[in-house]
């Protein structure tokens, strides 16, 4: 058990990071009824903008670039945490505008459009930021490692997990305690009724998509110091995010959080004791859970089950 504990902690911290990615995904699926295959690409956009803010790469060699780099790294990191998600949110809103002609058509249209968007975004990233591996510089205060129970842990990983908990609570409070959140939740249940009540459905969709994209961007900024940053990082991340919302139950907030923790635990523990199975473990978890509960852990009962 003593040997297992660090891996459980490791798995839970990883799960919290996955939850951050999956929340935006599940919101968009719930309200828009669109499986946004470009969600991982929005994650990547957030991270690359954060890289630009932290490294000042676009202004390198200019007097402004020199001034920018003279700012404390901690300040640049905080700005990246704000600007990365904001720009990812704007990119998400742009994507939503492109999606509009697909509303009311078979889901395949939306699926193909977001898949195409993912390819376009990946190529744009290659053009703008290059093909190489990049890394986000971290302020000293959240870098390095510490000892816990005789085991060494990454300080940043715990910071990222704590940040994820705060973000999850903030999103939950927003959805539960604000009128805007109530409209979003209502939109997820019955968007036509929301329109009938006089709300602008087009604007609601735009805002929700932007919000979901901003969450993806935030996850990108927080997660890439652990995962590394490369043009196809979005493709790497969209698969676990998709599995998590299916395991948790499509559209379920807490379902996504619980599923993310389970996936993190599965990867963390198999990574230590059967590493060759660590990637496979999340698929096995999906099979196991859908095997006895086809709508996912906290998914709504479908009409077909009545």
């Amino acid at each position: 058990m003593i040997d297992l504990l660090p891996h459980i902690i490791n798995g839970l911290t990883l799960g919290l990071l996955f939850a951050l990615i999956a929340l935006g995904f599940t919101l968009i699926v719930g309200v828009m009824e669109v499986i946004n295959l470009a969600h991982g690409s929005l994650f990547a956009i957030g991270a690359y903008f954060a890289l630009t803010v932290i490294a000042g790469s676009w202004f390198a060699g200019t007097p402004f670039g020199a001034w920018w780099l003279s700012l404390p790294l901690g300040l640049r990191y905080v700005l990246a945490l704000a600007l990365g998600p904001a720009l990812a949110g704007l990119a998400g809103m742009l994507l939503e505008l492109c999606l509009r002609p697909t509303y009311g058509k078979p889901p395949l249209y939306g699926l193909l459009l977001t898949f195409g968007a993912a390819l376009v975004i990946e190529e744009l990233i290659r053009l703008v930021w290059g093909t190489g591996e990049q890394n986000l510089a971290l302020p000293q205060a959240i870098n390095g490692a510490f000892l816990l129970n005789g085991m060494i842990f990454s300080t940043y990983r715990f910071f990222a997990a704590g940040f994820s908990i705060a973000a999850i609570i903030a999103v939950w409070l927003f959805l539960e305690r604000t009128s805007a959140g109530a409209v979003i939740k209502a939109g997820a249940h019955d968007s036509e009724m929301v329109r009938a009540l006089g709300y602008d459905l087009a604007r609601l969709r735009l805002v929700v998509f932007g919000f979901g994209a901003a969450l993806a961007g935030l996850a990108g900024v927080v997660m890439v110091p652990i995962w590394g940053l490369r043009p196809h990082v979005g493709v790497d991340i969209v698969i676990p995010a998709f599995l998590i919302i299916v395991i948790g139950g499509v559209g379920s907030f807490w379902g996504a959080v619980i599923a993310a923790l389970l996936v993190g635990l599965a990867i963390g523990i198999t990574g230590a004791y059967a590493a060759a199975w660590s990637t496979m473990s999340m698929y096995l978890l999906l099979i196991a859970i859908l095997g006895f509960r086809s709508r996912g852990l906290l998914g709504r009962k479908s009409a077909l089950e009545n």
């Binding site: 085991m151 590394g228 590493a275």
Partner: protein
């Protein structure tokens, strides 16, 4: 020099169309033998990865080949023929590698295939090449299997392999850091075979494997494995982790402050995998076949030519992957000239056993192309992070150089069974 680029989407579309046509026309029945003619360009198919986990290395590989081709054309070509190349992305996947090789031979009229970083991709390409009899130069794959059980008469392997690098490092590491080793192994052919070579040497020199942790390709989070290392407390970790996976691992090891202890041995360190990373991520001792600041004749001029040809490339100094790509084309074209023909059997014979002087290879010792395995036996360098760099890119400190004979992969020679000449289809480029 003419360059024809085909995108992967274009390739997919073309592959679909080609499949439709082949259904109508039936499968090709025999090899295409291209008409000879002095004016006909000699076409080389570059099979470098342009996407996937070895995309960066693939780009360097291609740049090295393109520079060698440009230089050959400046000299008037080969056998009076201009040299052209066509490049198609193998996407670092074996299935695409097979399709690319088929297309290059059957439709793009390539007389030679050159390139690959991923050993699984290289193996797939070489099977197709052997079927047609097309000479294939594997520039940058390091799995011992490439010149071992997966060797072919048409294939030549230009990089050092896991066994070469392990032989250069294992014995002294046991003496210095102790016999208790843990292995971190990328879960594919190169990782497994490099680990197998390390295990054999550990057994030979009195070391022992405390545990081997298999790391699936595409792993981004190494914390589980690193916690395991921390629990087991080995004296040495031997890591055979490649490409983007290795970059992620290096950064996480540094975050956990585990770079100095235990000791790290990385069988091989490709330049592209660490270029631009902070110097502290270059912990441990690792192998390479070349470094751009080797104090040897020709190196400085080679670097200048690289910088003149690629002024816009972010990687401002050439690395071992570029070097291998360049040397492969140069030796291939040299063999064609020595043979005086593009006939595959004649070119193969001109390559087999060929000796290359240290001066020509810009290495410390002479090299040779093993006639039995078709692997280039060459100088192997051990290096570590350079704490006193002379310039921004001077990130390696070369610790030692081993002669080819001292690190020769004798195991591959036992496993490699080259197809007889008469069972290799005749092909003329």
């Amino acid at each position: 020099m003419s360059k024809i680029k085909i995108s992967r989407r274009g390739l997919l579309g073309a592959a679909g169309a080609a499949s439709a046509v082949s259904l109508f026309a039936g499968p090709w029945q025999h090899n295409r033998v291209w008409a000879q003619g002095a004016a006909k360009p000699l076409r080389i198919g570059i099979t470098a990865d342009a996407s996937g986990m070895y995309a960066n290395s693939g780009a360097s590989d291609k740049r090295g080949m393109a520079m060698a081709i440009a230089e050959a054309n400046e000299r008037g070509g080969v056998l009076g023929r201009k040299v052209e190349f066509v490049h198609i992305d193998t996407e670092t996947t074996a299935a695409t590698g097979s399709r690319v090789a088929e297309r290059m031979i059957s439709r793009e009229q390539c007389g030679f295939l050159v390139g690959a970083v991923h050993s699984g991709v290289a193996n797939a390409i070489s099977q197709v090449a052997q079927k047609y009899g097309v000479v294939y130069i594997n520039t940058n794959s390091s799995s011992p299997t490439e010149a071992g059980q997966n060797c072919h008469r048409v294939k030549f392997v230009f990089d050092g392999n896991g066994t070469n690098f392990a032989k250069a490092a294992v014995k002294s590491a046991i003496e210095r850091f102790g016999p208790d080793w843990m292995l971190l192994t990328n879960d594919y052919v190169w990782g497994h075979d490099t680990a197998a070579a390390t295990k054999t040497l550990l057994k030979e020199y009195g070391g022992k494997v405390m545990e081997e942790v298999l790391i699936p390709q595409g792993t981004r989070d190494f914390t589980s494995a690193l916690l395991k290392v921390q629990q087991r407390k080995p004296g040495v970790i031997s890591a055979a982790i490649g490409g983007d996976d290795q970059k992620a691992m290096r950064q996480q090891v540094v975050q956990l402050k585990m770079g100095d202890k235990p000791a790290w041995i990385n069988s091989q360190q490709d330049w592209d995998d660490v270029y631009g990373l902070p110097i502290e991520t270059l912990f441990g001792v690792f192998g390479t076949t070349w470094y751009y600041r080797l104090d040897l004749p020709g190196v400085a001029d080679f670097v200048k030519r690289y910088q003149a040809m690629y002024p816009e490339t972010a990687m401002r100094s050439p690395g071992n992957v570029f070097y291998n790509g360049y040397m492969a084309i140069r030796e291939l074209l040299g063999a064609v000239e020595r043979a005086g023909t593009t006939n595959n059997i004649a070119v193969i014979k001109a390559l087999e056993g060929h000796r290359i002087s240290a001066r020509d290879r810009m290495q410390h010792f002479d090299a040779s192309i093993d006639a039995q395995t078709h692997q280039v036996q060459q100088t192997i360098y051990l290096a570590t992070a350079n704490k006193a760099p002379k310039e921004k890119d001077d990130i390696f400190e070369v610790l030692s150089q081993a002669k080819a004979e001292d690190v020769r992969d004798t195991d591959s020679a036992k496993l490699c069974k080259l197809e007889p000449y008469e069972q290799t289809p005749t092909f003329d480029a």
